[in-house]
Amino acid sequence: MTSLQQKPARPTAEGADEAAEDKRASRPQLQVRAMAPIVPPANVSANALTIVIAIMAFLACLTLGAVSMIQDTAANWQSQISREITIQIKPADGLDMQDALETARETALAIPGARDAQIVGDAATARLLEPWLGDNFDIDQLPVPRLVIVTIDHSDPPDFDAMRAALAQAVPAAYLDDHRTWVDRLVSMARTTVLIGVCVLALVFIATVLTVVFATRGALTGNQHIVEVLHFVGAEARFVASQFQNHFLIIGIKGAIAGGVLAALVFLAANFWTGYAPATPESDQAMALFGAFRIGLSGFFGILAIIAVIGLLTALTTRITVIRTIREIDVVRSDPSRME
């Protein structure tokens, strides 16, 4: 019994040397394979989940792309339009149109912030009206409203109300159109679209999380024997979670990459189509509405971000689900009143 209390002489040499010097230990193979994962990958049914996650990632990327395109286009419109304002002078009895145009132009230029003002001349106006009136009409004979286009300093816009007041005094027939109504409508439409896009994105993420919750619970049920054994060797819920989480992280990232690549291809194809398709009314409309289907660097970063978000979301969901499920099981298992 006394020998029990002795500390054994621990050889410091490597295991192989020890095996050689120790008769008892001479037999064992000291070669052991690299540790196999506690939860084998084959036990987590991956294919269906990968496809679902790919679809979710694809939808998320498309939504993100559409939202950013609409936002870009709206911003483009807004800046182009707000660079110019228009003064319209309606013909009236006894109004000298040429004089009124000059007066309006000078009045507009007198307001600080207006850079330039140009009268749309007879020829240009005739050209504007050509689709409706044909090319052989005398513009002087017709009561056609005339325009003065004022270019404004974008960074320091003029006071539109002051300009409107000054015009009303100088040329009562003039009407100042600063396109604000138009721009406001565009902006609100773009904002609504962005909001809808964000909601769709949120729904896609929620659906992904719920799918992963179901898949994780399924995997836990399918690997119950492993979870049991881990319980009996003293594993904490966190440890069990980490065993499952890694599998799901890989599934999530694989699926998300597949979906992201697919979405990028769709954008490239759309870009190609708008760039090379003959100028059909459809492609023109699409161009006008969406601008170019271009995903630049920021688009690719967006896709990468979605891949990362979906991968992390998958792993995190798995972790939380496993920990919560194991706590539930623990509570039920340890409570005899819940068993018959």
């Binding site: 002795q6 060797v233 003293g234 409570d335 068993m339 018959e340």
Partner: protein, 252 residues
């Protein structure tokens, strides 16, 4: 231990060479028991009480059989001892702590001081002998390099030195049970619980396993073996805890 059993041909280690025996200090005289049950009762659902008014101690370094007819509640009592079941009433002290006051997150840490062996082994089929035995250490977050030699030494001790890299599917019943025992004791538990450990092996192997448990007990681990194998119990003169009709009688 006044053991006198034959038939064991397991190469026993030189004392003190066994890594799992090293750190266990001898129980000091007058130390409180490892486990203390007081008036513990348990019922499942609204059913009758399976266990009634159990009051007993499991002293440090003790060796006992837990026996009784089938359905007497042996497995239930083992689950109480492993802290995976809460008693319906009564007090359980494990390692001098009232388990009712231990937060749930801490229970796994306390369970690590208890090894458990099942009749059906519960080995993981996709892991080799080495990996199955190393599992408790892996769960504790240890690096393989730090425990490889300990695991190999223990596998030698239980006579599985040449079965390190095989999967459980190709092991015999006795070999599987020895892997399960090795897994239960690799982290030097203070208490070893065994639920019918000899139920699936033939009598000679049962004797070998019993001897293994006794050696382990000599190295400082308290052992509780649940069995209804009378011939096994007759082989050594150990404390017997007999469960019948929910009550426990102890014969020291």
């Amino acid at each position: 231990m006044r053991a006198n059993c034959d038939g064991g041909d397991i190469a026993l280690p030189i004392w003190g060479r066994a890594p799992w025996g090293i750190g266990i200090a001898f129980a000091r005289v007058g130390n409180p028991a490892l486990i203390h049950f007081e008036n513990v009762g348990l019922r499942y659902g609204m059913g009758p009480e399976i266990l009634r008014d159990l009051t007993f101690d499991i002293p440090k370094r003790s060796f006992q059989f837990l026996t009784g007819p089938s359905g007497a509640g042996k497995t239930t009592l083992l689950r109480l001892l492993f802290m995976s079941l809460q008693p319906t009433r009564g007090l359980i002290n494990m390692f001098q702590r009232d388990i009712a006051t231990i937060p749930r997150e801490e229970l796994p840490l306390l369970r690590r001081r208890v090894g458990i062996v099942f009749q059906d082994f519960r080995l993981l089929d996709h892991l080799t002998t080495f990996e199955n035995v190393a599992l408790p250490l892996r769960v504790r977050g240890k690096e393989e390099a730090t425990y490889r030699r300990d695991v190999l030494e223990l596998l030698n001790w239980v006579g599985l030195g040449d079965r390190i890299n095989v999967l459980p599917a190709v092991l015999s019943g006795g070999e599987k049970q020895r892997v399960a025992i090795a897994r239960a004791i690799i982290d030097q538990p203070q208490l070893l619980l065994a639920d019918e450990p000899t139920g699936n092996v033939d009598p000679p192997m049962a004797r070998r396993l019993l001897r293994l448990f006794m050696e382990l007990n000599r190295l400082g681990t308290a052992v509780v073996i649940a069995t209804h194998d009378l011939s096994l119990m007759d082989q050594i003169d150990a404390r017997r805890m007999i469960l019948s009709q929910g009550r426990l009688d102890i014969y020291d």
